[in-house]
């Protein structure tokens, strides 16, 4: 039997050498394939590569019910550049944003392929009257569905429990929405950038399922994003500053969401431990310079920071209030503007998690560039039935 530790030793180092993404918005004109192509082409152009250089393609996209096309991965294939190549579709809900690059990573790290194109696409505007029609069918059909659950009120319960357990104030949570929507102002793909948003705007926004108000949530969106991964030697031929994937981790909790720890997402902490161990990170608070945790709701950014070991349970709200998570703060968090500011086309948020870390760590983030010289960052996504997390540690060496 192979010793367990050996399983976690990749054979080759893998770097990100290009990223691309489309505008996030309701996009009636373009097809999903056309958006996938736009993002994939940008990523290849940035890497200085062509489709001929790509050995395999990974696609991430939501359940077929969103676009109304069965076998949606294969349907997107040609726009993702996968025709005539080894190809696979991956879907882990919102966690797809960071899971497809992990899958791309092991395609290269294993030695099977040199260069892999990862393309995530989402078109949530196809399903009518609203994407909630598709979300309505993720529940247990007998116990949950007759009560007509809605994602928002399930999250509201989790948020309420989180606030109660750690004595977190709503006013501090709402500051995350303010920060991220302001951060998004520098992002060319942003749907919800707002330079003038205030805490009062969030506190006074429409109550949906309290404690959740409208501005606590990222909206459905359409868009695509892509990254190019390659092995170390090729990466250095293409650029002087490749950004390496140093550690990956993922974990899934029970499907019975009622039975989970609603205040502290343990599965995120486990995924983070796997990634940190691989990256050799012992003290994330000292070693992580920048973070892109998944922020579909403002309280999720806080919970995720805590599970990523970047704050003690309940402390992330205080760091936020003190301004430490601002773009020019000690630990910039969601400098992209996150899902709250840029938008939430589920899998395509790859562009504001892995894409953003790549641009930040290679100092290509333009007006969004963090002040500090960030060399090591962590990106995290979260999804399925609020039970899955994927974590990637990236570093400019």
């Amino acid at each position: 039997m192979i010793p367990k530790s050996d399983l976690r030793k990749p054979r080759r180092d893998v770097a990100v050498v290009g990223a691309g993404m489309t505008v996030f918005a309701r996009r009636l004109q373009e097809t999903g394939k056309e958006m996938a192509w736009e993002a994939a082409k940008q990523a290849l152009d940035q890497a200085g590569l062509t489709l001929d250089d790509v050995d395999a393609v990974i696609v991430g996209t939501a359940p077929d019910a969103f676009d109304g096309v069965h076998k949606k991965g294969e349907w997107l294939l040609d726009g993702a550049g996968g025709s005539g190549k080894p190809f696979m579709r991956v879907f882990t809900g919102g966690g797809t944003a960071v899971m497809t690059p992990i899958v791309g990573w092991w395609h290269v790290a294993s030695g099977l392929f040199d260069t892999v194109l990862v393309v995530n696409e989402e078109k949530m505007s196809s399903v009518r009257p609203h994407a909630q029609s598709a979300f309505a069918h993720i529940w247990d059909p007998i116990l949950d569905r007759p009560l007509k659950p809605n994602l928002v009120w399930i999250f509201a319960m989790e948020m309420q429990r989180y606030m109660w357990t750690y004595n977190v104030r709503y006013e501090d949570i709402a500051l995350v929405a303010v920060k991220n929507k302001r951060n998004a102002v520098g992002h060319p793909c942003a749907q919800l950038a707002d330079p003038d948003i205030t805490l009062e705007d969030v506190l006074n926004s429409e109550p949906l399922a309290l404690p959740v108000r409208r501005l606590d949530i990222s909206p459905p969106s359409d868009g695509a994003a892509a990254v190019v991964l390659t092995r170390e030697e090729i990466a250095y031929e293409l650029t002087d500053a490749p950004v390496f994937i140093e550690g990956v981790g993922w974990c899934i909790d029970t499907t019975m969401w009622t039975n989970r720890d609603l205040a502290f997402p343990k599965f995120v902490a486990r995924a983070a431990k796997m990634a940190y161990d691989m990256a050799g990170i012992k003290d994330p608070r000292k070693e992580i310079d920048i973070a892109e945790p998944y922020d579909p709701f403002d309280y999720k950014e806080l919970q995720h920071l805590e599970a990523l070991g970047l704050a003690e349970p309940g402390e992330a709200a205080i760091l936020t209030r003190e301004g430490k998570t601002q773009r020019d703060g000690e630990l910039p968090v969601c400098p992209s503007g996150g899902l709250l500011g840029v938008g939430n086309p589920i899998a395509a948020t790859l562009g504001i998690k892995i894409g953003e870390l790549y641009w930040q760590l290679s100092r290509q983030a333009g007006p969004r560039q963090v002040k500090k010289d960030a060399r090591t960052g962590v990106a995290q996504a979260w999804g399925d039935l609020m039970q899955f997390s994927s974590v990637v540690v990236m570093r400019r060496r």
């Binding site: 009636l28 004109q29 373009e30 097809t31 394939k33 056309e34 192509w37 994939a40 082409k41 290849l44 062509t50 489709l51 001929d52 019910a65 676009d67 109304g68 040609d78 726009g79 550049g81 025709s83 005539g84 505007s125 196809s126 399903v127 009518r128 009257p129 029609s133 598709a134 069918h137 059909p141 007998i142 569905r145 007759p146």
Partner: protein, 158 residues
């Protein structure tokens, strides 16, 4: 073992009926699809987009070449005439009921290095249909065209 429990009738196990349907879906034609359907409706033309590098033309047109990822900007009228590449004669419908007359579906090639186009054949007795047969699109009259694939009623043998 639960697998061998003697429940035989569908009414016996406690169960719920449901569906997974959304109200409906919005299927957009896309950037190039828009131009294809507008040209079909307004000009009675079939357009394709050509990749110069790959010498390969997509009908209906695509925004990009799936072989080399080039953006395709050049639209060309491929005409209404083509040749049958492959066909099938359908004798029963989905419910298994006989179709009288049978329906003929075909892939039609408008020329070399052009992607085949799926449609049905009309005025074509099944025994006459063969690979390589020259066919031509029969369009609905302009006033009846809506910018849909069914603006082509069928392809008929020449």
């Amino acid at each position: 073992m639960a697998f061998f429990e003697p429940m035989q009738k569908a009414t016996e196990p406690r169960h719920w009926l449901g569906d997974m349907e959304a109200d409906h879906y919005f299927y957009g034609a896309g950037v190039m699809g828009q131009r294809f359907f507008e040209a079909l409706r307004d000009e009675g033309k079939l357009l394709g987009s050509r990749c110069e590098r790959c010498d390969w033309t997509y009908v209906p047109p695509r925004l990009y070449c799936e072989r080399c990822f080039a953006e395709l900007k050049e639209l060309r009228d491929v005409g209404l005439r083509g040749r049958v590449k492959a066909f099938t004669v359908v004798y029963v419908n989905k419910q298994g009921e006989p179709l009288d007359p049978p329906e003929v579906f075909a892939l039609i090639e408008f020329g070399p290095n052009i992607t085949p186009f799926l449609h049905k054949l009309g005025d074509a007795p099944p025994e006459r249909v063969h690979v390589g047969m020259v066919v031509e699109a029969v369009l609905k009259p302009p006033a009846e065209r809506e910018g849909k694939i069914t603006d082509i009623r069928y392809f008929r043998p020449i």
